[in-house]
């Protein structure tokens, strides 16, 4: 840590805190501007369940007190911010007495697992293919095939999800249509469960990879072309280094640097895209939780899920920023 310049660290921390604060505030303000009263929704649900509710006025008051929305706005805001920092988002209105944090805790590992795997795979494949588009020793066939594969890039993840689902699940039946694991297997540390999870995770992960690798490949192509024109690449060739060594240690190693920054910037969009994929595949992660919450008008859950995803995004950006000085020695010396 001592090798990260202090100004740089402070700068990144301020950005992290501001991001989380602004996002939390936005999530809080928007529903307050809406005319919908969450207490009435909850009451409506009770009424629907019980047939009729007699002392509606009293229950409404109690609900409001429970939800804390009978207090002045400013008090609500600070309570909310305090709660958010402790991951306390209140109680779900759809599954009423369940705390939102418990629902999120169940869903989060699924999303994290899917996300980590697919993000890492895409980043590696995308950048490698992008580099191969430029490298002079790439076989001809590859140089034609890679740009052709780019067509997938232009499709949003939900659409690729639909296509893959139709081809491999609905038509061919190779993979299950929906869910994160089979209904017949018991969740736990068993071989059956693990294979089931992998089997179910394959298509969602593939649909993310297929549509996002092109983004990295395109960016990498542009960067590689600049690196190819750099004097150090010419000198590397003049040194008689092996072409493959030049590709990895001189070209990709330098071209990848801006891609890592781009990774931090785009991470939010990628995670949001994944939420949609989860929704299509009815995968048990945050996306499905969010989608169900939207259907049920379950505001605490919507807020909680949005907040946690934004927090994840902001944290990933922060981590990438912290790692960066170790990948690019120049950053350690000149702070922007």
């Amino acid at each position: 840590m001592s090798r990260i310049p202090r100004d740089y660290l402070i700068n990144r921390l301020v950005t992290l805190v501001l991001t989380v604060l602004i996002a939390a505030t936005l999530i809080w303000i928007i529903p307050r501007l809406s005319p919908v009263d969450p207490a009435e929704i909850a009451l409506g649900r009770m009424a629907a369940g019980a047939g009729a509710v007699e002392n509606a006025g009293e229950i409404l008051e109690t609900l409001r007190a429970q939800m804390g929305i009978d207090q002045p706005l400013i008090v609500q805001y600070f309570k909310y911010i305090k709660g958010v920092l402790l991951f306390d988002f209140g109680l779900s209105t759809a599954a009423f007495p369940t705390p939102v944090s418990a629902l999120i805790a169940n869903a989060l590992p699924w999303t994290l697992g899917l996300m980590l795997i697919s993000l890492i795979i895409t980043f590696i494949i995308g950048n490698l293919l992008g580099a191969l588009m430029v490298w002079e020793k790439t076989p001809r066939l590859w140089k034609v095939a890679i740009p052709a594969a780019m067509v997938f890039t232009s499709i949003p993840p939900i659409l690729s999800g639909l296509l893959l689902m139709w081809i491999f699940a609905a038509t061919l039946g190779w993979f299950p249509l929906t869910g994160a694991y089979g209904l017949t297997v018991e969740p736990g540390w068993s071989w059956d469960f693990a294979t089931s999870v992998l089997h179910h995770g394959f298509l969602p992960a593939l649909s993310i990879v297929v549509v996002t690798f092109g983004f990295w490949a395109l960016g990498m192509r542009g960067l590689m072309i600049s690196v190819q024109g750099e004097d150090y690449t010419t000198l590397a060739k003049a040194k008689g280094l092996k072409p493959r060594y030049i590709l990895y240690k001189y070209m990709i190693r330098n071209a990848i640097l801006p891609q890592i920054t781009a990774f931090a910037l785009k991470i939010g969009l990628l995670i949001a895209g994944q939420v949609l994929v989860e929704r299509i595949f009815a995968y048990n992660g945050m996306g499905k939780l969010l989608y169900d919450a939207i259907l049920d008008q379950d505001f605490p859950v919507i807020q909680g899920v949005s907040y946690v995803i934004i927090l994840m995004t902001a944290l990933s950006v922060f981590i990438v920023d912290l790692i960066y000085p170790f990948i690019d020695p120049r950053v350690r010396h000149e702070v922007a």
Binding site: T19, S154, L265, A272, I294
Partner: protein, 309 residues
């Protein structure tokens, strides 16, 4: 290597064509194809409105779940020319749906991107020129906003407010697509400020306005276009994402909402591929068009790229 030996004349012809393209970067085939695809979708919307009966877009205007012409559905019904692209689960004509829906998506993308771009130009130039505190605020703000995924904030918004209009959706998305142009323009302005020709212009007594709009702006054009197109893509992806979650405009047919309904009705299991497939295909065409334009613009702004491909 082998190819040069076999057909040297062809290789040379290709070389000549490549070199010609080098001279006029705006005429590259990628750019032309991309624009053509987008214009195609616009024309589908415009001509379709004139020639097709748009009332077919209402629920129950036809037999349910009819396949496109030349196909058969699971109930052994054949497609009919009255509804050439088939009908959806509630008896709406697919052709009428896409004639109305496709231009809508493009409209949202263009409007949101236009607003985002204008904001980006204003903020980017301000940050680059004013510097100091103003620059700090704009820089940190765009750093912060760029990490917040627009989709989530919009989900919260739509879920709270219920139905929104297309324009409102575009405005909301615009709130999340000004960051990249701002950063891009700020960086370019800062580097151009040091450039010889801007210094020359200052020596020539040029006003700040002249330097911004007459000296810097023309050189920014390819970057601005590139950023604009990238933003159109992001905006459409976000809009379609919302629609697929069932959160877009409720009363206007959109491609995303059609897909939402198809998934909800189990169109995948029932093999009603045209219901979700046609809007998906149309979106894909739109995105391929945008991608091609972006690649073409890259070649304009980065001459090194032109040597390849």
């Amino acid at each position: 290597m082998a190819e040069t030996l076999q057909t040297p004349t062809r290789a040379e012809k290709r070389q000549a064509r490549r070199l010609r393209r080098f001279d006029n970067p705006w005429l590259n085939p990628k750019l032309i194809w991309g624009v053509a695809l987008l214009l195609g979708i616009l024309l589908l919307g415009l001509i379709g409105r004139m020639l097709w009966n748009l009332d077919l877009v209402f629920t129950g205007s036809a037999t349910l779940k009819l396949p496109p012409v030349g196909f058969e559905n699971l109930r052994k019904q054949e497609g009919v020319w009255d509804f050439p692209l088939g009908t959806d689960g509630s008896g709406r004509d697919m052709l009428a749906l896409i004639i109305i829906g496709a231009p809508n998506s493009l409209f949202v993308g263009l409007l949101a991107s236009l607003i985002g771009m204008s904001t980006g130009i204003v903020l980017g130039f301000t940050a680059g020129f004013v510097g100091g505190r103003t620059d700090d605020v704009i820089r940190v703000l765009s750093d912060v906003m760029i990490t917040i995924p627009p989709l989530l904030i919009l989900v919260v918004f739509q879920a709270s407010f219920g139905d929104v209009s297309l324009t409102m959706m575009a405005l909301l998305i615009a709130g999340f697509v000004w960051q990249s142009p701002t950063r891009l323009i700020r960086a370019q302005v800062l580097s151009m400020k040091q450039s010889g020709y801007v210094q020359m212009a200052r020596l020539s007594g040029a006003s700040t306005g002249h330097i911004m709009f007459r000296e810097m702006m023309p050189n920014l054009v390819p970057y601005l276009f590139g950023s604009f197109i990238a933003n159109v893509t992001t905006s459409i992806v976000t809009a379609v994402g919302l629609e697929v979650l069932g959160l877009g405009p409720q009363r206007i047919p959109t491609l995303g909402r059609t897909i939402y309904e198809a998934i909800n009705a189990g169109a995948l299991i029932q093999n009603l591929w045209w219901w979700w497939g046609i809007p998906t295909l149309l979106l894909a065409v739109m995105f391929v068009g945008l991608l091609l334009i972006n690649l073409g613009l890259d070649e304009v702004s980065n001459p090194r790229l032109r040597k390849l491909s």
